[in-house]
Symmetry: D3
Subunit: 134 residues, 6 copies
């Protein structure tokens, strides 16, 4: 199995609902350093997992929609705790949709699985990984 | 599959038995930077893999029992080489026991697999991963 | 010249005023990973720059006052842009005051200079450094 | 499952063929920081995944054959794009052959899977992983 | 003294002249991860060392002129060994010229010193630092 | 001012004397990841701060004398607390002696200052820096 990983980051504000969150129930924020790992069993005809330029651009585009936002005010996230693990799955889905739409190039349809990791500090990170539609 | 990782460290002395260890047969020591990764297929009702505060506390508690010890004098390790990979499994088992005992909170019982990685330097690390009891 | 560095982090929300900040004029946030470096020309009688336990505790205490805050609502920062470089100087001053008050131990009065670095992402950081009062 | 990872690096020149590579069609180069991860379900009699000294030496030996080379002039790679993901598989195969030949010690035959990751910058890396012959 | 650091990278091929370089006399290459640190004694009116957006853009622009090049064919470097430390000074000079030309904004003229660090691997880096013209 | 940095590590056991050290009064140990930074105002005739191969070898040789040792049993350290900051100065002195003896090559006599940093964990490090004899 081959994999390729690209890294980008975004910065947001949010607050959490639930006693379990303690002081994180207050409005606060985070820098998320995002690792996008894409996997496939065989390389494409160019010897690539995916076009790294397109992958970086598309990751940047997905993160631009979240960057410098107060996530408490994003309608799509209403009633949700935008935890690190939750956001990892959101970004996974958005990248998966772009792959399906051909925005990472036609060869990217050969990708079979993907993992999105969000580093919230030097001592904590969370991830979501799963299959990509065939 | 979702995952959450927290990081802590501990510092110990030990020596190894067996010619294969060369100079590491002498009393020496290590800083181990520990990554504890916990995984589950669905988030809990708060949108979490596990309560990160409890996870960090319990990892710190497990490492506190090892920290600033000469592992050659720990009865439980008598007759064993406390290699990095061996210690990864020890810490795995101790965290797993705390999860079973409910010390990471009731929702932590939804965790299905776990990985413990010990970094012994900038160029070497070892890990143990496995399933958690249902 | 000897130096000792300890690392901690905090997570905040804030917004900036001024066209130069572009989208960062919106409410957003950051994780700041903080490096506190303390320097002195000679070690103390224990062979230390400073008691690392006390230094870590006091850094954590200073950051706890900022952690999980919306800095736009902190009276002390009213009318200020709480940029990374500005916050580095704020933390410098607060640690310096604790050193003067003896909270890092009596030997910490031998410290002569200090540097506070705030990492806001994997690609950007800012710092403030200066002399400590004799 | 246990794993052990060792890190080394090498520096090469190369160029790529295909419009998709844009400016990377020109002669350029890279530093690759290589992580070699070896896995097995049980430790050997010494409590090891593999002799870390031998593993480091053999990784260094494999990379020495590539280090300071212009890969465009290496006959084995003629007609291939020596992308990061391609090189990860090349190094995987060469390490696997050395394991089979006994060069990582007899206990290394207990290794079951392996992963080779090449970091080409702070924001991009690629890997190949697979089973080792029984 | 305040400082701000931004990070970017570039990838080149080159060879060195002189027995001291051993195998690095052959055509090879490197990824250089570049840290640009800019310093000034007082923040500007916006609370900044320098506009981080402009600083990142200008660093990227300077590195784009070197990226994906065979430095042996760059006329400006004829007869020079393009060592890591040499390249650090080249990039320093090019950024300094852009600061003088106003390309980092008018406030950047308040910068007094600068440091450029090039990381060539996880175990080696080199830097050039110096004053900026008043 | 130019600088060059090389990185190596060593692993030791030791214990400290003095109540201030708390549990570190027990026999324990550490991995120290060492950064050796050497500086000079002008490059040598080859465009170098120092021969990086010789610098790496000499750093490795100095650390080999400490590696896999119980520092409590090293006669030279009798009656001393071998703290991170103390060890940074020890290594500084030993490298400085090798520079004076010509073991980093004749051009290394152009080095003017040096800094030795010892990382004891992901959150703590200490350093000693000073002038080199002319």
């Amino acid at each position: 199995m081959y994999s390729l990983n690209v890294r980008e980051h975004f910065m947001i504000a949010h607050s959490f609902k639930g006693e379990i969150f303690g002081p994180a129930q207050r409005m606060h924020g985070a820098t998320y350093v995002v690792d996008l790992e894409m996997r496939r069993p065989q390389l494409d005809d160019d010897g690539l997992v995916v076009d790294i330029g397109l992958a970086s651009q598309q990751l940047a585009a997905v993160l631009a929609d979240l960057n410098y936002q107060n996530l408490d005010e994003v309608p799509e996230f209403a009633g949700k705790n935008t935890t690190t693990e939750f956001l990892a799955a959101v970004i996974f889905d958005r990248i998966a949709a772009r792959i399906s739409a051909g925005e990472l190039g036609p060869a990217a349809r050969g990708l079979t699985t993907m993992k999105v990791t969000l580093h919230e500090s030097h001592i904590a990170w969370a991830a979501f990984e799963g299959d990509l539609p065939a």
